[in-house]
């Protein structure tokens, strides 16, 4: 168990280092970064000043070591645009993205688990096919388009909900629903297949033979076993939702981390871009690590792997 933990932890560190390298390389893709920051109107002297100020005149390996060293100590650099440390910018914007991510995950679980259970109880029936159709529709729905349709319907025609911003919780309703759509199909399929396995298992047959009620069999015996992988995958899905919220935040003008990144990308604010990529990757890595540990604790067979 301890070796497994250690292996996973070292692997996570290596992955983080690789992402550090990638996020650094990403911002150097454009060629001369100083020209991009200075903008088209800048003179050669301006560019030279910028190059000197931000240290772009130093060799790339030196810049890279500097980036890794400061990132490791929590210093993600300063935004060119806001003239503020990037870590503070992210900290300010993080609550919005976290609220959105958790709300979306809740919506997804509330839809996916009941539908998955119903489909599994009637495997192969029309109900089952109907639920699978919901999964297909969810998979095919372009999130940004669904967002616009909901804005027209609930924001404009019915005027129930705000169409942009997050002054209070109502601003999160539409974005959370849209974002949840991307997680529902996978969670629903997983619940369904887990429940089908559990319902055909020996312990459920025993429970049935004991004369337990159908509700008790499904909820107590089968669901508890089927829920384990769902919980583990939920952690991974949360990471994907946080990373994928950039489009939704842009549509609904929610000023979260994704919005910050989108803004920075279109304004060539490289330190923010590379920091947000790194930050979201670290969150994802941490969540997958938690999911793995969760699985290992619950399922002894995995520890040997």
């Amino acid at each position: 168990m301890l070796t497994y933990l250690l292996r996973r932890f070292v692997l996570a560190l290596l992955v983080i280092f690789t992402v550090l390298t990638i996020s650094f390389a990403l911002t150097r893709l454009s060629g001369d970064i100083a020209v991009a920051i200075a903008g088209p109107a800048a003179s050669a002297e301006d560019v030279a000043v910028i190059r000197k100020t931000y240290g772009f005149d130093r060799p790339l390996p030196v810049q890279f070591v500097e980036w890794v060293r400061s990132a490791a100590s929590g210093d993600l650099g300063r935004s060119y645009l806001y003239r503020e440390p990037v870590s503070e910018l992210i900290r300010d914007r993080l609550p919005v993205t976290l609220k959105l991510g958790f709300a979306a995950l809740m919506v997804a679980l509330l839809v996916a688990i009941p539908l998955g259970i119903v489909a599994a109880m009637r495997e192969g029936s029309l109900v089952d096919r109907g639920v699978m159709l919901v999964a297909l529709v969810g998979q095919a729905m372009p999130g940004f388009w669904l967002a616009l349709l909901l804005i027209i319907q609930f924001g404009l025609r019915l005027q129930w909900l705000p169409i942009a911003g997050a002054e209070d919780w109502t601003g999160f309703v539409l974005p959370a629903i849209v974002l949840a759509f991307s997680a529902i199909p996978a969670l629903m399929r997983l619940t369904r297949s887990g429940m089908i396995d559990a319902l055909s298992s020996d312990y459920v047959r025993t429970a049935r033979a004991k004369g337990l009620s159908r509700a008790s069999i499904v909820m107590k015996h089968a669901l508890r076993n089927a829920a384990m992988p769902v919980v583990a995958v939920s952690a991974v899905q949360l990471g994907a939702l946080l990373g994928g919220s950039v489009v939704i935040e842009a549509v609904f003008a929610l000023h979260g981390v994704g919005f910050l990144a989108w803004e920075s990308i279109s304004k060539n604010d490289f330190p923010v871009v590379q920091a947000v990529v790194l930050f979201l990757a670290v969150i994802y890595i941490a969540l997958t690590l938690i999911a793995d540990l969760f699985n290992a604790v619950l399922d002894p067979r995995l520890r040997a792997a």
Partner: protein
């Protein structure tokens, strides 16, 4: 029985949709009623034929610059299909190579492959795609290459697991005993026996690539204007959506139906070929 018939119907429907859009894409220049780039500022935002005030000759209306919406939609099919297929080819090449190598050799090679896959999965996909397109400059080629270089993870995961299942089977051992080279075995023995899984992955990735291109174009960092990408059409029309909602509904429905068709086809192929979704 009913459910089986539904499933078959779904597969056929999916195949029909994909075929239809493919035909539109290939023969677009012959099919369009108007030049998709020709502006007519006097005839802006003409409603489609099922609404009042429609103009003859513009069955799907015109956009904010008076361009024929049907013609733009048909040319948009080209972009979506091109992005979908080109991305699948690029990402398939990368993912299948990695996955088969890892699955076949095992050991250190496999550890390295798994590490690369884990790194790829940790990177926030949309964000990195946006950043790359923004930094390198938006063009169709850049979008295709960016998506191709990012979307290979499922190919790698599935080909790795399926290769592991195949590599110890009798016909592989027989080929080994007959003295075939390892490259020959991977190419002629392993690949043909895992390809049915990869076809299903290809449909999933194609659908994902089309959706991602639309999202990138919608955010202004995908296919550049005036190309009629469906995502870009929605983005350009969204300022008018409160008064004339059909301007975003039409390209959105096209996008949704195509992706749904690809997924229906993929699901049907999975059942037919006995393949797994994510192994």
């Amino acid at each position: 029985m009913m459910a089986v018939r539904l499933r078959l119907g779904g597969t056929l429907l999916g195949a029909a949709i994909v075929l239809f859009v493919a035909v539109l894409a290939v023969f677009a220049p012959l099919l369009v009623p108007h030049d998709p780039f020709a502006q007519d500022l006097m005839g802006r935002l003409a409603p489609p034929m099922w609404l009042d005030g429609a103009q003859a000759g513009h069955p799907f209306g015109t956009d904010q610059l008076g361009r024929d919406y049907l013609s733009r939609l048909i040319y948009g099919a080209r972009i979506s299909m091109l992005i979908g297929t080109a991305t699948v080819v690029t990402s398939g090449l990368i993912g299948i190579t990695l996955g088969v190598l890892g699955g076949f050799f095992g050991g250190l090679v496999d550890d390295a492959v798994m590490f690369v896959i884990t790194c790829r999965l940790s990177i926030p996909l949309v964000l990195v795609a946006l950043a790359v397109v923004s930094l390198v400059g938006s063009s169709l080629t850049v979008v295709v290459l960016t998506l191709g270089l990012l979307l290979w993870d499922r190919f790698a995961v599935v080909s790795r697991t399926t290769t592991m299942q195949v590599r110890n089977l009798d016909f592989v051992s027989a080929a080994r005993a007959a003295g075939c080279s390892r490259i020959y075995i991977m190419w002629h023995e392993v690949l043909p026996n895992i390809v049915h899984h990869l076809v299903v992955v290809a449909t999933l990735e194609m659908a994902l690539a089309i959706l991602l291109e639309a999202a990138l174009s919608f955010l202004g960092l995908g296919v550049p204007a005036p190309l009629p990408s469906w995502g870009l059409m929605i983005s350009e029309a969204k300022d008018y959506m409160f008064f004339t909602p059909w301007v975003i509904e039409i390209p959105g429905v096209a996008l949704f139906v195509l992706v749904l068709g690809i997924n229906l086809l993929g699901d049907g192929l999975r059942d037919l070929l006995g393949a797994t979704r994510d192994a």
